[in-house]
Point group: none
Chain length 229, copies 2
């Protein structure tokens, strides 16, 4: 027997959550709040609360302020964020403020149930697809000393020819097209592509393209051949 609370200003979404819980956690009770104020009152009134699901778009709380307020008022209450925001940074900030989990609203119904079960068991839940994707260790928010850009993949390790191939790769060209454009055999293109993937530490051409799109490869290539080209 668990008691949950969902704080979301969209009735439809609260109903959806209620349906999921009823179907998958029949032993549970659900409190509903449509504002931060109501959520705070519920949390104060109900001592049995096991988990609060907090939307980040509440009318009386902008962004993570609601989380901060709820945490400050009830430090013992586990709070998980429920949001349409899929920014990695937002998730990390929420954890920083003491959230025990983060559930994107785009989560599939079955995954949602699994996430709730995990949270009720005392575990931490974070969306795997967001936390595990690209997640390039670069830029911004947390200063923390040496803020050297530290270019992600090692484009500098690529040879000129490999750079030429990667540029065409990043434009979406197939091996066959690249072979024709560079006037070499397709097998040779494959050799170059394999070398590129190995040097960049990525598993396939798609990831190589995504990595390449963050850098100006033409500039790098031009720089190598001196200002005269």
């Amino acid at each position: 027997m668990h008691t949950l609370m969902v704080a979301d200003d969209h009735p439809l979404f609260r109903e959806a959550i209620a349906a999921v819980i009823e179907a998958g956690l029949p032993d549970s009770r659900l409190l509903e709040a449509e504002s931060l104020d109501e959520a705070l009152r519920h949390a104060g009134a109900c001592a049995e609360l096991d988990l609060a699901l907090l939307d980040l778009g509440l009318p009386d709380a902008s962004g993570l302020e609601g989380l901060r307020a709820l945490r400050a008022a009830h430090p013992w209450l586990p709070v998980a964020i429920l949001s349409a925001d899929q920014e990695r940074r937002t998730i990390l900030d929420a954890l920083d403020l003491g959230a025990v989990g983060y559930i994107p609203k785009s989560t599939a119904r079955r995954s949602l149930l699994a996430a709730l079960a995990q949270l009720l068991e005392g575990q931490v839940y974070l969306p795997p697809d967001i936390m595990r994707r690209s997640a390039v260790p670069h830029l911004s928010a947390a200063g923390a000393g040496a803020g050297a850009p530290m270019p992600g993949p090692r484009f500098a390790a690529l040879t000129d020819k490999q750079l030429e191939v990667l540029i065409r790769l990043s434009h979406g060209a197939s091996n066959k097209v690249i072979a024709r454009e560079l006037d070499i055999a397709e097998t040779t293109v494959k050799t170059h592509v394999s070398a590129i993937l190995r040097k960049l530490g990525v598993p396939g051409r798609v990831q190589a393209i995504l990595a390449a799109n963050d850098a100006d490869l033409e500039a790098l290539l031009a720089e190598r051949h001196g200002p005269s080209r």
Copy 2:
């Protein structure tokens, strides 16, 4: 059949990990490294690596620098931290650098096994006892911004599900990964992908990704279904 790597300079600890894996994950292979350098070499040599367990006390890497280096060299390798450090701040910093999990060395054998299984399934694992004990909020996060990128007209023809697939596609996910994340069969993903390619008028996933990267698909999806921020 999974392949793991443990990077720790204490042979005893490596042996303990190996024993746990042998007992609980008999289908798995384990590579051992006693330095960051060796870990980097293993990661470069073994493409099948599913998960790296990185100690924060390596002799040739101080603290989270090892994680930064490993992430930079192999952005697509999931890395979980294995450390004696139980500071909440350290865990958050590790996540910031792209770690997919954090396992304190004080973890009980059974919990360790569960954590590894969870990580190998593609989930995120964090120590519940540390993450769930109260933390004092002291952060200012402003979610201002909200630029105005216009989603291309072609994307309007996509259904919600197709949009979900395309978003993950644009992050470089394979059909198999998308299937796992959306909890549907790979054949279904293929069906969706085919429909997407047809509607966008592009010949392959690579071109779809390049087209998708010019639009803010998450915003489009959020607008469609109950925009709660």
